[in-house]
């Protein structure tokens, strides 16, 4: 467990960390994110004391790190930085076994660990062990970076924008690998990034920072559902909801002005309204906009007498949903009941909108 207590950092008169308190649980994957200069990297580096706070305390497992031996502390924390952090004059093997070497592990144990780790990150040891970093691709270098951080089996791993210098395809793959690795190893990982997609993909919890303060520290789900303020909303982006269908609600995508008519309208009028709006069904509502039922073009066609009123023919047992229902549930309902439209109503049955198949198609099309 890592705990920040009122941590501040000043450089001269500028306060870049303004009293941060937070707690990171064991085996938790926490992503620190925010625009450059928000203090995320500073926070990370305070955990292994590459940067010392101006005031406040940081605890690891309830021990104040400022009282620990700094060299010992760092050797027990994995550290991954951008690919450049590999030592270019050392082979893959020498890079990986560095911390075990510093910890004076015997040679055989180190050799064994190197092989184990290369296997773990999916790079055949006999092929890669004696290569130099310049002989590796960006993605391979970063895998070695991760393997190196894991070498002495630390409980905590700090990762400072590890994938930012890598091409998008390799990055996606590395993210997947890291995620899988974490499912196996259950390390406490603190990961800095400026890429919100990366954060949402990897984090158990995301710590959103701005100008040296924590704006919101919560699970990706909670952040997507309830952004703390405009800043967070902007960061996750309005488009965000389209990429995560489980967080899109009926209210987000419904047509807010569906075609509707009072029950006192005649069928002839209803036909006119429908053809004007280019739809094939009409919602019947009362004067308080409460949903009564639905009439389709098909229903009207089956009645010869166009002077009949809607109230005489509408179907009243309509499947409806509330605005906060996930669209996945809406989809399920539509396919199970084989219906083409679902009115959205509030708890008083007041009509709020309508979801049709074409709304959903547009959504999937990314509009």
């Amino acid at each position: 467990m890592i705990r920040f207590e009122n941590v501040t950092k000043k450089y001269g008169d500028t306060e870049i960390i303004k009293g941060i308190s937070l707690e990171i649980k064991d085996s938790e994957f926490v992503v620190l994110i925010g625009p450059s200069g928000c203090g995320k990297t500073t926070c990370l580096k305070m955990i292994n004391r590459l940067i010392e706070p101006t005031s406040g305390r940081i605890y690891i497992n309830d021990k104040d790190i400022s009282e620990m031996d700094v060299i010992e502390l760092r050797r027990n924390i994995g550290y991954v930085i951008q690919q450049i952090g590999l030592f270019p004059h050392m082979t893959v093997r020498q890079n990986i076994e560095l911390v075990p070497l510093l910890k004076k592990w015997p040679r055989e144990k180190r050799a064994e660990r190197v092989k184990e780790l290369l296997d773990l990150v999916g790079m055949p040891p006999e092929k890669f062990m004696d290569r130099y970093p310049t002989e590796l691709s960006g993605g391979q270098k970063q895998r070695i970076g991760v393997a190196r951080a894991l070498a002495a089996d630390p409980d905590i791993i700090l990762m400072d924008e590890p994938f930012s210098a890598i091409d998008p395809i390799a990055r996606t793959q590395l993210q997947d690998e890291l995620y899988e690795l974490q499912q196996k190893l259950h390390k406490t990982i603190v990961f800095v990034t400026h890429d919100i997609d990366e954060a949402l993909k990897l984090a158990d919890r995301i710590c959103i920072m701005k100008e040296g303060t924590v704006v919101q520290f919560d699970t990706p789900e909670a952040i997507l559902r309830n952004p703390a303020d405009d800043f967070v909303e902007n960061l996750i982006g309005k488009k965000r909801i389209w990429k995560q269908p489980e967080y899109v609600t009926a209210g987000d995508i419904m047509i807010t002005n569906p075609v509707k008519a009072l029950p006192s309208r005649t069928l002839a009028q209803a036909v006119e309204i429908m053809s004007e709006s280019g739809v094939d069904s009409i919602l019947v509502v009362d004067k308080e906009n409460r949903l009564l039922g639905i009439v389709t073009a098909e229903d009207i066609r089956s009645h010869r007498d166009k002077a009949k009123k809607l109230e005489e023919i509408y179907t009243s047992n309509v499947f409806t949903v509330k605005p906060d229902v996930s669209i996945l549930n809406v989809l399920r309902l539509m396919s199970q009941k084989n219906i083409g439209y679902v009115p959205v109503v509030d708890e008083n049955n007041v009509l709020k909108g309508l979801i049709t198949r074409s709304t959903l198609v547009n959504l999937l099309g990314g509009n």
């Binding site: 580096k45 292994n48 590459l50 060299i71 010992e72 502390l73 760092r74 050797r75 027990n76 550290y79 930085i81 951008q82 450049i84 952090g85 590999l86 030592f87 270019p88 004059h89 050392m90 082979t91 560095l98 911390v99 510093l102 130099y132 970093p133 310049t134 190196r148 700090l158």
Partner: protein, 213 residues
């Protein structure tokens, strides 16, 4: 045929030339060893105490600016004549490229790499021996190479104070107004300088770790 004359003259004096070349190598070699022994630790020290670095570099620069003849003149009353003042002078001149390159080599390493080392729990010493020095070695060697070529050149002055070396033939030639004699000293000195430059360029490559070649 003047060229043949010059060659004949050199061949006649071959024994002399060989002995003097041997002295010349010895004098420059000792001077360079002294310069490395002082320069490299000084460069390392400067990375530890950055505040003194500009002072030391300034001092080494100033030494470089002293006219060599005058410098030698100052040294004679202190060290007498013979090889000692010559070695002291040549070392002093060779110091600058060594100190400078050691310092720039050690400090020019990518910050991210230094931070990776520290972040992984290296002590300052370990960072120096495991990362900074191996990575700076090519730059340090380049400095040594410049210093060695300089040393071979400056050592010709050693003859002025009776330390021997190829300079002896040159000065004798000047005082006797004998061009063949001057050439007999100058040509081997040039060849020596070029040969040593070649050897050190090879060494420079040899000490470059494979990963950063």
């Amino acid at each position: 045929m003047p060229v043949a004359e010059y060659i004949n003259f050199m061949l006649e004096r071959m024994d002399d030339i060989i002995v003097l070349t041997g002295q010349h190598i010895q004098l420059s070699f000792i001077a360079i060893v002294v310069a490395i022994a002082i320069g490299v630790p000084l460069g390392i020290l400067m990375t530890r105490f950055p505040s003194i670095s500009s002072f030391i570099l300034g001092l080494a620069n100033a030494v470089q600016a002293i006219p060599s003849l005058a410098f030698l003149g100052f040294l004679v009353p202190i060290f007498g004549i013979g090889s000692t003042p010559s070695i002291v002078m040549v070392s002093a001149y060779a110091l600058l490229p060594i100190v400078k390159n050691t310092y720039t080599g050690l400090t020019g390493i990518d910050k991210a790499i230094v931070e990776a080392g520290l972040g992984m729990g290296m002590t300052e010493q370990q960072l120096m021996t495991m990362v900074r020095i191996p990575m700076a070695l090519p730059v340090i060697m380049a400095g040594v190479r410049i210093a060695v070529v300089m040393a071979v050149g400056f050592t010709t002055l050693a003859a002025l104070i009776g330390a021997g070396g190829l300079g002896q033939l040159i000065y004798r030639g000047i005082s006797m107004v004998n061009n063949r004699m001057i050439v007999a000293g100058a040509v081997p000195a040039m060849i020596l300088a070029l040969a040593i430059d070649k050897i050190f360029s090879f060494l420079e490559k040899a000490v470059t770790p494979r990963g950063i070649r």
